[in-house]
Symmetry: C2
Subunit: 411 residues, 2 copies
């Protein structure tokens, strides 16, 4: 046990929101309230942008019931940011932390955020300022290394599987070829989760394309036609990012028309166009699941909610014990029954790394996901009891009680 380090803490949220990222925030706050060495509990508005501008909300000023309501609200209650951190940013961040006697920093985010955490921890050490930085994992994409799965993924996976199951029935009614685009620029974890919707023979998804499976336009058109001829309909799930046989992203470069104009509307629109051109007699439609994948709170997973709270809580607990420059992880300790515990990994192990869908989950035909993937994903999407007694979900916002600034303003 390291010696007691007294001071204030800052918590921030970064990158794309999830349905459960406020549970990590509230888990961290509630744990912080238990530790005498922690004085002020500050929330950075819009992640590091708020640190740079000294925009801190007072998280001790939030009533307990409000914190619980915020935990149940999707997206980042503190706001978020996509900010490429530069050297001068880092210096300012450490300066702000010194000015506010911030001795603990917790950042909830993906691999870019974990890199930033590591850089902050390093710089604080270099300038001789004692502080502890612990990363809290978060991403719907499920692409962080060193974890079994990422908080945020299970709920998004549950939304996608539910959406595909519902779209399946609509498709069965009117029988077009229907292309459903899931998030995932680099990895197929989210598209793969749609496999959960296939519960009876003939159920969608009939085909699944991920960035891990080299994509061929000719093969795609053959696949779709075969499925359509067999079922009289087809539901095809794709990741928003797909790669060709040379592992090159199929993107704007191929999605241009004859005049060199970039095709708008993304991957699903591109596939609709080539399918319509190949089979003009068949109706082709598409759905892009969009922002709802990470915000549609009715699809929150119980497992995901509990674990998201836990990683926030454990980050603070470990930091109070002396941990610095680490990220909290999730480790599956048992498959049947599903058991998962938190662990720790050095931030440098996570920074800028991408964990792909393992190839043993990709079908040899490159157009589907193996059933063995269900063992992995099923426990992550467990439902929760939720009485939908009002027409709309109850959503909450933090009370905007601000901490006074201490430094001269910068732009």
């Amino acid at each position: 046990m390291a010696e007691t380090l007294k001071g204030n803490i800052v918590i921030g949220q970064s990158g794309g929101p999830t349905m459960v990222v406020n549970l990590s925030l509230v888990g961290a706050v509630k744990e912080a309230l238990q530790h005498e060495q922690i004085q002020g509990i500050y929330g950075a508005l819009c992640g590091l942008e708020g640190v740079l501008k000294e925009e801190f909300i007072d998280l001790r000023a939030q009533p307990a019931e409000l914190l619980d309501a915020v935990a149940d609200t999707p997206s980042t209650a503190l706001g978020s940011v996509r900010l490429k951190i530069r050297e001068e940013h880092l210096e300012r961040i450490v300066l702000v932390f010194q000015a506010h006697n911030v001795r603990y920093f917790f950042y909830i985010g993906g691999n870019d955020s974990q890199l930033t955490c590591h850089q902050i921890s390093q710089l604080a050490h270099e300038v001789g300022y004692e502080m502890r930085v612990v990363g809290i994992p978060k991403t719907v994409d499920n692409d962080l290394v060193e974890v079994d799965h990422c908080p945020g993924y299970g709920s998004a996976a549950r939304f996608i599987a539910t959406a595909v199951a519902c779209i399946d029935r609509d498709n069965e009614a009117l029988r077009p070829i229907q292309i459903v685009e899931a998030m995932g620029r680099d990895t197929g974890w989210l598209a793969a989760a749609s496999l959960l919707a296939r519960r009876e023979p003939g159920d969608a998804p009939h085909l699944i394309y991920t960035p891990e499976a080299p994509f061929s336009e000719a093969k795609f058109l053959e696949d779709v036609k075969r499925v359509y001829d067999e079922y009289g309909r087809a539901v095809v799930v794709i990741s928003e990012g797909l790669r060709d046989e040379q592992c090159k992203q199929i993107s704007a470069s191929t999605q241009v028309d004859a005049f060199g104009h970039v095709q708008l509307g993304g991957m699903h629109q591109y596939l609709v166009t080539i399918t319509e051109n190949a089979y003009p007699q068949i109706k082709v439609r598409s759905d892009r699941l969009g922002t709802l994948q990470r915000s549609f709170i009715y699809c929150r997973s119980k497992t995901d909610a509990e674990e998201s709270y836990l990683v926030g809580q454990m980050a603070v607990r470990h930091a109070c014990e002396g941990v610095n420059d680490y990220m909290v992880t999730l480790e599956r300790t048992s498959m049947h029954p599903y058991k998962c515990e938190t662990g720790l990994t050095p931030l440098v192990n996570v920074a800028e790394q991408t964990r792909h869908l393992p190839l043993h989950y990709v079908s040899p035909t490159l157009n589907d996901v193996e059933e063995s993937f269900l063992d992995y994903v099923q426990p992550l999407v467990e439902g929760e009891e939720r009485t939908l007694d009002s027409g709309l979900p109850r959503l909450a916002r933090l009370k905007p009680v601000m901490i006074p600034k201490k430094l001269p303003h910068i732009d």
Copy 2:
């Protein structure tokens, strides 16, 4: 009370599916089971396409628990069709009904379907075949005349409001201009329902554009910028169909690029493009709510579910009493508390008519919906207790027990 007409009944489902259209089916079937004059209970596969091909499923062969499970399943359990009915179709339909001693026909659909019902009823009368035809209203668009609202609308409205409330929080995190496209080629009922999400000052939707409000590109760009400057973000809800000041649909004709190519991706993509061009420094995103609006079962409305069952039930009850050539309606008999009863209207009154969002609900600024609309829509989206204890919704299909064909095959 008309004399008892003994024979078989056919029920069919037509047009775009809804979350609750199987409740109308099951309501009709369960009522039919109570009437001795009704013998066979046949479901036409894919609406009138199934009648033309004599593809009838035996609805008496379905276990009661299965019917209940089907009622809870979105989309059309019998399949659906979009078929422009021609004269020779009508003759074949009446011939099939005669061959199968079908004395009752119930068609669940929108205004095209009600027209077809009327034509079938007329032709049967002309050829001296005694039968009763009753239409059952259904459409997410809420555009049927002679009803207070359409079965299917409340659940779609609830989905849209929920989706916009969730997207709002995501938008608040990353603060782009975000365009959300709801269904509604001709009417703004669905887009207008997003107003339910605006529960606190600053909540989305910040702007709502419907086909009933003449759309001006210049005005739109001004509106969006003003909102963005005020809130640092913007959530804009639009109907998929918008009309210009000459009441002309803004469609492919204006959505072409400089080389005359039709802009792909629909209205939201077109608005993203003009907004990005006008304000290149602001991030612009879009969500098209797509098929989920009519199929995402977790958003089913309790009111909508109950009323959808009721209209199916009442259609059969009225037909057994002698009603022919009518559609069942929903009439609101009290605003506070909300009360609604069924009624009847001649099919000719409904056929091919479109009920627009009344102009008193459209804000004079043409970019919003008046608060008075909430009185209308709120009771329609009431939630229901639904324990989401499994990861995915339970969905059911009818047992494929077919009725033998009686006529020579036609193509």
